[in-house]
Assembly symmetry: C2
Homo-oligomer: 316 residues x 2
């Protein structure tokens, strides 16, 4: 399917189950099992995997081996390895790790920002500027891409509704420092398709050539509906979690991300090109699930399979 406005049919799917998924469950994956999971998803054609987070190990022991995971996966052919950083200190650690991209995330909600990081949104924006300056001052890190993420952009479990102006104002402040990517996140699963259309239309108008990603949680079952809405207004990058593993430990009630394989199926069925093999993705899912201890995974495609006569549009 050619889209009406001649946008590209190529869609970039970032796996975040290895970060957003693992940080929300009790089971701690061994470093080897994370690496195998990442290898299998890379073999399925996933172009980018957020493999961990630079946070204190005592806060998230599940991700304490992030540096090791990066060093063993950043040589995988064709895979972009990224990691989340919540602050300047994390970014410094991250830049020395060999990672390809660091995604700095701040919260648009003042209440959420204060609760999670004890910073105002303004202070959090300044942290991003310090990260960008640090990279500039250290030529050995010039290759590290720096993403800027807007958490709780569609609502907040503490503050409730978030004014869209706050999202756009925070984005405007971040754009001063030329992020390599902008991630707009429905951290706690409040978003609806109409809101997605409105917000992403405005975000895309502001970001120009900077890649924009959408990060949705499926808390109220609207994850893929939100993806389709964002896709329709021009978003071509989406975060997802294999088997829907995920959530936010600081956001009560938040459930997992959009299910990677269901997302890829939907995109494929719509004629988008993800470059991802669903068959291989299901193999990776099976491996991932074999490491769980009772945690529940989600997903419809894994049970229903391809429709009869289905023609994939993706080139593997």
């Amino acid at each position: 399917m050619k889209t009406s406005n001649n946008l590209s049919n190529n869609v970039w799917v970032r796996e975040v189950g290895t970060r957003d998924g693992l940080q929300s469950i009790d089971t701690i994956f061994t470093t080897d099992s994370k690496i195998e999971w990442i290898k299998q998803e890379a073999a399925a054609g996933i172009p980018e995997i957020e493999v961990g987070s630079f946070v204190p190990a005592k806060l998230l022991p599940q991700l304490a081996d992030t540096t090791d995971v990066i060093s063993q996966t950043c040589k995988i052919n064709g895979l972009r390895v990224s990691a989340l950083v919540p602050n300047f200190r994390g970014a410094i650690d991250g830049m020395g790790s060999g990672v390809h991209q660091l995604n700095y995330v701040l919260s648009v909600s003042e209440a959420h920002s204060q609760a999670n990081t004890r910073k105002t949104v303004e202070e959090a924006v300044l942290d991003f500027s310090r990260i960008v300056s640090y990279r500039k001052d250290n030529p050995e890190y010039h290759h590290v891409l720096l993403g800027a993420g807007l958490a709780t952009a569609f609502g907040c479990t503490i503050a409730g509704q978030i004014d869209e102006k706050d999202v756009l104002n925070t984005l405007e402040a971040l754009l001063e420092f030329s992020p390599d990517e902008v991630v707009v996140a429905d951290t706690v699963g409040f978003a609806n398709p109409a809101q997605c259309r409105r917000i992403f239309k405005q975000v895309l108008a502001m970001t120009g050539s900077i890649p924009v990603s959408a990060h949705f949680h499926d808390t109220r079952g609207l994850g893929l509906a939100n993806v389709a809405a964002a896709l329709d207004v021009g978003v071509r990058r989406f975060d997802a979690s294999l088997g829907g593993l995920g959530g936010c430990p600081y956001a009560p009630g938040a459930s997992g991300n959009v299910v990677t394989e269901d997302l890829v199926f939907m995109l494929d069925a719509m004629g988008m090109d993800t470059g991802i093999s669903l068959d291989k993705l299901l193999l990776a899912r099976t491996f991932m699930e074999s490491n769980l201890n009772g945690e529940v995974t989600k997903g419809a495609f894994v049970h229903a399979g391809f429709p009869k006569g289905f023609k994939s549009e993706s080139v593997f």
Copy 2:
């Protein structure tokens, strides 16, 4: 939210769990429990409930009491009571039942039509013309609304992909007989949002002032994404099943309909007006579930509840 093209914000949600849901599960609800379920959904503001089907009792014993259910629910204030009919004979039975609307369903797929009814699509269209003539010839039935449904319009478990021209040609043939409503159904859960936009745009262009409904199954998790796509091109009527109960006994792999309460939540969040109380809908769900014997229900809203600070747009 005002839609960009000044379409109405009013959305009509038809509960079909009492028909599509019940026909696909083993448990047989008592007539009293069906009536209580219907009363509770009507009290929640659901404007129409498809309460059964005029098929031989030996084929679907779950729906053998359809006539009784109709006679005891068609007086509920403000509720439209409808029933499915698969053929002319069923329609004659239905018209004498006091029902407000009969939904005649044929399959766009020749293979599916032959397998289920031993009729060609052309013969099935003729059956609809006979039903319309019968109503015309019997003034006591002039008040009965006649809907025409296009099953397997997005794909078929037997034939695979369905040519969109076949959908539109079959619709054109049905429109000759002036149905009071057109239902376009993804009977087996093959639809994707891009396909929904394409098909419903064309359907709406052909149907003029005739109401058009979309009937989606959530087999591959795309149900609400398909609703949002259809909504975006102008569809304002949707079928759904409380707790996602449902399927098609003739379509292997088909899972339940779109979950009524998740659909209503999404519409409500998008600023659409359904006139339905989600709180009361959850009470009806609890009652419905209390009659099940091990059958699994679905749904996200029932677990996640309203987002903090959520403002409903509906007027109850």
